[in-house]
């Protein structure tokens, strides 16, 4: 039961994007389409689960004073694995996500969970916590990507539902669209949370 709680927490209550608002750079940068958001979310989830589990496993071996650099090295290792794997097997996607794959290293979600959770809790709980946070991040990115794709390109998950040549809101695919969509989504999530609290 307690393990289930560790998993659920990241999905809504402590959702990294909408509730805690960390890891926002990739959130804005790669969500030009739902597929891109989903892939970025899954790549980050992989790094989160592996690094949380490994850090939890070796937490007793790491001296307290050098723990942050040690965590960063562990995280960087998994990020390099994802980077090289995507480069080899998914070159198209690697091209699109580009710079933001190596930048998972400095995504505050990963280091944040390592410091706040994995450095204190057992392995299984840490991995589940990482998975929950990762999936919470993934659905947020997918939603943002989906909204921007629908308005910006008239398609959803690559499926074109508007006729070729229909005028779309091109701005939604551009940087300003990312900022404005996220601002409005945050407001919506705040309203939902406030209503939950009231009832």
């Amino acid at each position: 039961m307690a393990l289930g709680k560790d998993f659920i927490r990241g999905l809504w209550e402590e959702n990294p994007t909408f509730r805690i608002m960390i890891g926002l750079c990739p959130t804005l940068a790669v969500t030009t389409s739902a597929i891109n958001g989903l892939s970025m979310g899954l790549a980050t989830s992989f790094v989160l689960v592996c690094s949380s589990a490994l850090i939890s496993l070796v937490k007793r071996l790491i001296p307290d004073k050098v723990r942050i650099p040690s965590y960063i090295i562990i995280i960087a290792t998994f990020v390099t694995i994802v980077d090289l794997y995507m480069h080899a097997y998914l070159p198209g996607l690697h091209q699109v996500l580009g710079l933001f794959i190596p930048l998972i290293v400095v995504n505050c979600i990963v280091l944040g969970r390592a410091e706040a959770f994995a450095s204190k809790k057992p392995v299984l709980a840490s991995a589940l916590d990482g998975l929950g946070m990762g999936l919470g991040f993934t659905w947020a990115l997918t939603l943002l990507g989906l909204i921007r794709e629908i308005f910006g390109a008239g398609s959803a998950f690559g499926f074109q539902f508007l006729k070729e040549g229909t005028t779309t809101l091109g701005i939604m695919s551009l940087p300003p669209g990312a900022f404005i969509t996220l601002g409005i989504l945050l407001a919506v999530m705040n309203m939902i949370a406030a209503r939950q609290k009231a009832s």
Binding site: M21, I22, L24, C25, P26, L28, A29, I68, P69, I72, I73, A76, T77, V79, T80, D83, L84, L99, P102, L103, V105, V106, N107, C108, L111, I171, L174, P175, P176, G177, A178, F179, I180, L182, G183, I184, L186, A187, V188, N190, M191, A194
Partner: protein, 191 residues
């Protein structure tokens, strides 16, 4: 001339924050007052200039000759982290006043993805040493500019009547969107 183009491009056309989405966390976190925004911006600029120089040396004198480019992520992030530490110690010794004013922002520069992003982009663009440093300077100044612009607007917002769910980050993002729209007017300035 070429150096000027790189500087202008990093500063305005491809502004790190508003166009490339790098360094969003400090952009939101430290943009409540113009003064702290300026301090954070300048500290970040300094680290960016030093980081672009050091990572350039590491990439072309250590990683490339020994066939280790796959260690790039790890090497760069370690260098950046230790450099931030160095800057912190240096400021602590030489100007305690400034150090006090910076407070928590200084160590946080490590996890500013604009710095790692800058180092990686400079390598991908195969910039020369001088070009890398100018690129770092332009990126840092662009970051500072965006931070101060947002902080100035947010200071005025204190007196505005904003709907409750939009308060805080929500409205900040919408303002950033409008700023980004304004900056897109620079597109085409440098091809």
């Amino acid at each position: 001339m070429n150096l000027f183009v790189i500087l202008l491009s990093a500063l305005l056309v491809n502004n790190f924050v508003l166009v490339r989405f790098l360094g969003i966390c400090p952009f939101l976190g430290v943009s409540k007052q113009v003064e702290s925004a300026l301090g954070m911006g300048l500290a970040t600029t300094f680290v960016m200039v030093v980081a672009s120089a050091v990572t350039w040396l590491i990439q072309w004198f250590i990683l490339e000759p020994f066939g280790l480019p796959f260690l790039q992520n790890m090497a760069f992030i370690l260098v950046i982290a230790s450099m931030v530490q160095l800057v912190e110690m240096f400021l602590h010794k030489t100007s305690p006043g400034l150090y006090q004013a910076m407070g928590i922002f200084l160590p946080l520069i490590t996890t500013n993805c604009a710095i790692l992003g800058l180092a990686i982009m400079a390598v991908q663009g195969a910039y020369s040493f001088i070009e890398s440093v100018v690129f770092g300077l332009g990126g840092g100044l662009g970051f500072t500019l965006a931070l101060i612009l947002l902080a100035g607007i947010r200071e005025e917002l204190k007196f505005a009547d904003i709907p409750k769910p939009l308060q805080g980050a929500g409205i900040a993002f919408i303002i950033a969107g409008l700023l980004s729209l304004a900056f897109s007017g620079f597109a085409g300035l440098v091809s």
